[in-house]
């Protein structure tokens, strides 16, 4: 795998995200405290910057219209249907590295990505 070093560890506050731009990629990188997760920084709803959203467990709420995206699968959990790509992340040499070329749409589970517009989805960690 080709791992591209991005932010130094510690440069993203815990439970916050930052935008990482590399060539044509625009990725939202999150520090969850125990791990880093990366997804496409484009909300499936109206392309909102997920990197600026509020993190709750392993999900983020888009700052524009509050869609909730699971950061492990990329699936929308509430708001509407949709999915964003997820990217492998690894810590190497005190740097958070992302394998941009390995970004993928993971297989959605039965209960994920199926939330309706009206009912807010349950938190994946609760």
């Amino acid at each position: 795998m080709r791992w591209v070093p991005t932010a130094e560890i510690g440069s993203i506050p815990v439970k916050e995200g930052r935008r990482v731009v590399y060539r044509d990629w625009n990725v939202a990188l999150f520090n969850l405290g125990s791990e880093y997760l990366a997804v496409d920084n484009v909300c499936p709803h109206k392309a909102g910057p997920l990197s600026d959203g509020i993190v709750a467990g392993k999900a983020v709420f888009c700052p524009l219209h509050n869609w909730k995206i699971n950061l492990e699968t990329g699936c929308a959990l509430s708001g509407g249907k949709g999915q964003v790509k997820t990217y492998p992340v690894k810590i190497l040499d005190q740097k958070v590295c992302i394998a941009f070329e390995e970004g993928s749409l993971k297989e959605a589970g039965e209960d994920q990505g199926m939330a309706s517009l009206s009912e807010p989805a349950r938190d994946p960690n609760s």
Partner: protein, 813 residues
């Protein structure tokens, strides 16, 4: 007169009802209350409804934080009093702290009685006494299917009902030959058993428990007769014992309970006791009505108005288990030969009515299946009414009430008691509704205390309210924060304060689901901030992006910058700076906003601190739940119609309030005459200049909804107008729900109440409001000035844009 320190041990129904009676007498007391449970005073009787899933914990609070605050009571939640030094008048807590007292009120209640059998400590064995027990049982119900309730008394049957609702197969086992043997005779017991069994609950009588079986977890219950009932959950409801531990330490005279005389005094002149922990004329009471009777007497004694005496209470029990109505009161046994029984039995309908007559008067009753006559009989028992002339029809005096008909209760005389626990008559409720313009059941409850006891009269109270208010009647509104943290805001604020919680994540970990969501995290941030006023470490990750970077996010992910322009007034120097910044940072658009300010749109996040530094202006808070602006017209300075100096007043108002956070955004306007050019009457707070004075208006809106503001007051001077605006502003800050705009806040609280507690409040209360506002104002900073130099986090405004030629490390795994 010197202020005495009254310490109340116990935050339960008896203690707080008594304290309420004491406070009504307005004594010069300083009051401190210790509560072992970490909850406000709640209605213990309704725990069965919580177990049955019909009510939430917040539904059963009797007094919320507001009551404690309003009465200036210092409340120590989650603090147990472990020692009393009666000689030196000092109590000691489990936290190692000690407090002196002048007067000590023990309202320590009861402990559940646990029979001395083996196995009561096994996993899955519960008592049913408090909120923690209830939560424990509910949690255990998720994995258990078969439940046994040991004890067929009032509490045991309530527990059985709740467990049935939670999907359990329930068996009630009872030591005696009939259920509720304290309240029922043999025939009544048979009726009740049949009705309970119809619900699908197994009832086993004459069962003496030998031990609770199982390994670490409960597996069953073994009886002395050798029989066994399987169980994955056991609730012990074998009665209660007065909690007299502390009284003994204080050296008080204790038999079964703490011994008190008819004035509710113990043998120590500084110590009083009330409620279930008390023994009066050799009687201990476990029901709610006697506790209130005692409280009223004690209040007179303790405030130096000793005189009224407590002579014991008529015991009355009302139970409603899924449709089975049951009522028992007074002496219903009729064991002595001179007592006469009038009875009616209908086995097919499950109806049993019995009245005991002694010396021409009704002295006791049992009603099963139809308790609609309960209050009528209770009145007869209390009034000791001679029933000679109507004895032949005493059981069926009045035609049966038409269920659900709201006019029914209104046909009763005004003197009729509606709430038997507290003693509130129909007339008192009707006049409270009329005099105070009450519209909700909770408002009636707060005002009259009716239905705050056992709650069975809540339906009657609602019927009266509906009949009196007609179309104005309002359903109750739910106030829990959100599904992640299911507590009302007032309670959260209290817990955050008393338990010194300074981080949003800690609140979520302790009282929530630990993850939170985009609704509760900002709301909790607001509450924590409001409580600690900057004396805490702000968790910026819990804030919405706008509050993290002090700018308003736009649809393309860029931000907008709105500098403060007080009263909508600017000058060439400011305009020049704004123009320079717009050019230097290639700001795509500069727009005049609806708030008489300039908006720089399309700014990149990383440019924000640089732009703030270059501007050197104050944040306009256009992105936050905070004071936005004061819009003004030109007023007497230039306008030929102006009657007041609206520009100067507008700038002054904005200067007084800028930088303060509020439950929702606050927009303001000041106009010099009623032509209203700056639209002050559709703002959250508006000042409208009139000939010789100002009108202060509140709660207007011109957004999603359009609403003209209500007049708070009309005043003569600009100083008075500003003070009125400030009073309302701070009142809203303290009492508004997060995201609740003033136009929703005012109808919820009521304009009259707001007037009473702001502009019409006592000078002392006004000063207190303004002092708290000033304190918050002193802590307010211009975030642009602070964070353009030193961001909260070095990478607060930083994104990571990698050079195209960034090298990749190639790793094989």
């Amino acid at each position: 007169m010197s202020t005495k320190h009254l310490v109340v041990v116990g935050n339960g129904m008896a203690g707080m009802a008594c304290l309420d009676e004491i406070l009504k007498r307005k004594p010069a007391f300083r009051v401190t209350v210790f509560s072992e449970e970490p909850y406000f005073n709640y209605n213990r009787i309704l725990l069965s409804s919580v177990l049955a899933g019909e009510k939430s914990v917040e539904d059963i609070y009797i007094n919320t934080e507001e009551w404690y605050r309003k009465n200036e009571i210092t409340l120590h939640l989650g603090t147990k009093v472990v020692g009393v030094d009666a000689q030196n008048k000092i109590i000691e807590t489990d936290k190692g702290t000690s407090f002196g007292y002048d007067l000590l009120l023990l309202a320590t209640g009861s402990n559940p009685f646990i029979p001395p059998i083996d196995g009561t400590r096994k996993k899955g064995v519960y008592v049913f006494r408090n909120i923690a027990d209830t939560h424990g049982i509910l949690e255990h119900c998720k994995t258990a299917k078969k439940a046994v309730v040991i004890g067929g008394g009032l509490l045991g049957l309530e527990a059985a009902r709740g467990l049935l609702n939670q999907g359990q197969k329930v068996t009630v086992v009872h030591l005696m030959d009939r259920l509720m043997d304290v309240q029922l005779d043999v025939v009544g017991g048979q009726f009740l058993k049949r009705e309970i069994e119809k619900l699908g609950i197994d009832v086993l009588l004459n069962k003496n428990t030998e031990r609770i079986m199982g390994g670490e977890s409960v597996e069953g219950v073994l009886f002395k007769d050798g029989s066994i009932v399987e169980a994955e959950l056991v609730v012990i409801a074998c009665g209660i014992r007065p909690n007299v531990e502390l009284a003994k330490k204080a050296g008080l005279k204790v038999n079964r309970g703490i011994v008190v005389n008819d004035f509710m005094e113990t043998n120590d002149p500084s110590i009083f006791a009330v409620g279930e922990c008390v023994e009066h004329r050799e009687k201990v009471y476990g029901l709610v009505a006697p506790l209130y009777d005692q409280g009223k007497i004690l209040a007179a004694t303790i405030t130096g108005e000793k005189g009224p005496v407590y002579e014991g209470s008529t015991l009355a029990t009302k139970l409603k288990v899924m449709g089975i109505e049951l009522f028992s009161a007074g002496d219903f046994r009729a064991e002595e030969p001179d007592k006469e029984v009038v009875a009616y039995q209908d086995h097919a309908f499950g109806i049993y009515k019995k009245v005991v007559v002694h010396q021409r008067r009704v002295v006791g009753t049992i009603l099963i299946g139809d308790a609609s006559d309960a209050n009528r009989f209770l009145e007869m028992i209390r009034k000791k009414e001679v029933v000679d002339d109507k004895r032949h029809r005493v059981l069926f005096d009045t035609p049966p009430a038409v269920p659900g008909s709201p006019t029914d209760v209104m046909s009763r005389p005004d003197s009729d008691t509606i709430c038997g626990c507290i003693g509130v008559s129909k007339g008192q409720i009707v006049s409270a509704i009329r005099d105070n313009g009450l519209k909700t059941v909770s408002a009636v409850k707060a005002c009259t205390k009716a239905s705050s006891g056992c709650g069975t009269c809540a339906g009657l109270v609602q019927d009266i309210l509906k009949a009196v208010t007609g179309a104005e009647f309002e359903e109750e509104k739910k106030t829990g924060l959100c599904a992640c943290v299911p507590f009302p805001k007032e309670q959260l604020r209290m817990m955050i304060q008393t338990q010194q919680i300074k981080k949003v994540q800690d609140v979520l970990d302790i009282y929530g689901n630990s993850t939170g969501c985009s609704l509760c995290k900002p709301a909790l941030s607001f509450i924590v901030d409001e409580v600690w006023l900057g004396e805490h470490e702000e968790d910026r990750s819990a804030r919405f992006i706008n509050d993290r970077v002090h700018a308003n996010i736009q649809r393309d992910g860029t931000f907008s910058v709105v500098p403060r322009m007080r009263g909508g007034v600017t000058n060439p120097k400011e305009l020049r700076k704004i123009a320079d910044v717009a050019e230097k940072y290639k700001v795509p658009m500069v727009k005049v906003t609806g708030s008489q300010r300039l908006d720089l749109l399309g700014v990149k996040k990383e440019d924000l601190p640089k732009i703030w530094a270059d501007l050197g202006m104050t944040s306009g808070y256009a992105y936050a739940k905070a004071v936005r602006m004061v819009k003004s017209c030109v007023g007497t300075d230039f306008c030929r119609y102006g009657t007041q100096n609206s520009i100067k007043t507008g700038i002054e108002l904005e200067t007084l309030l800028e930088g303060l956070y509020t439950p929702a955004k606050v927009k303001m306007g000041v106009v010099g005459c009623p032509r209203n050019c700056a639209e002050a009457t559709v703002k959250d707070i508006g000042l409208v200049g009139i000939e010789g004075g100002w009108q202060v208006v509140i709660g207007g809106a011109a957004g999603k909804i359009v609403k003209a503001a209500d007049i708070l007051c009309t005043v003569k001077t600009t100083e008075e107008a500003l003070e009125s605006a400030l009073l309302f502003f701070q009142y809203y800050r303290e009492n508004g729900e997060y995201l609740e705009r003033t136009y929703d806040f005012i109808p919820r609280i009521g304009l009259e109440k707001i007037r009473r507690e702001t502009v019409l409040a006592s000078e002392e209360n006004k000063k207190a409001l303004l002092d708290r506002l000033e304190k918050a104002k002193k802590k307010a900073v211009n975030p642009w000035a602070v964070e353009s130099k030193k961001p909260v986090h070095p990478y607060q405004f930083q994104d990571f844009v990698l050079p195209k030629e960034s090298e990749a490390l190639i790793v094989t795994s």
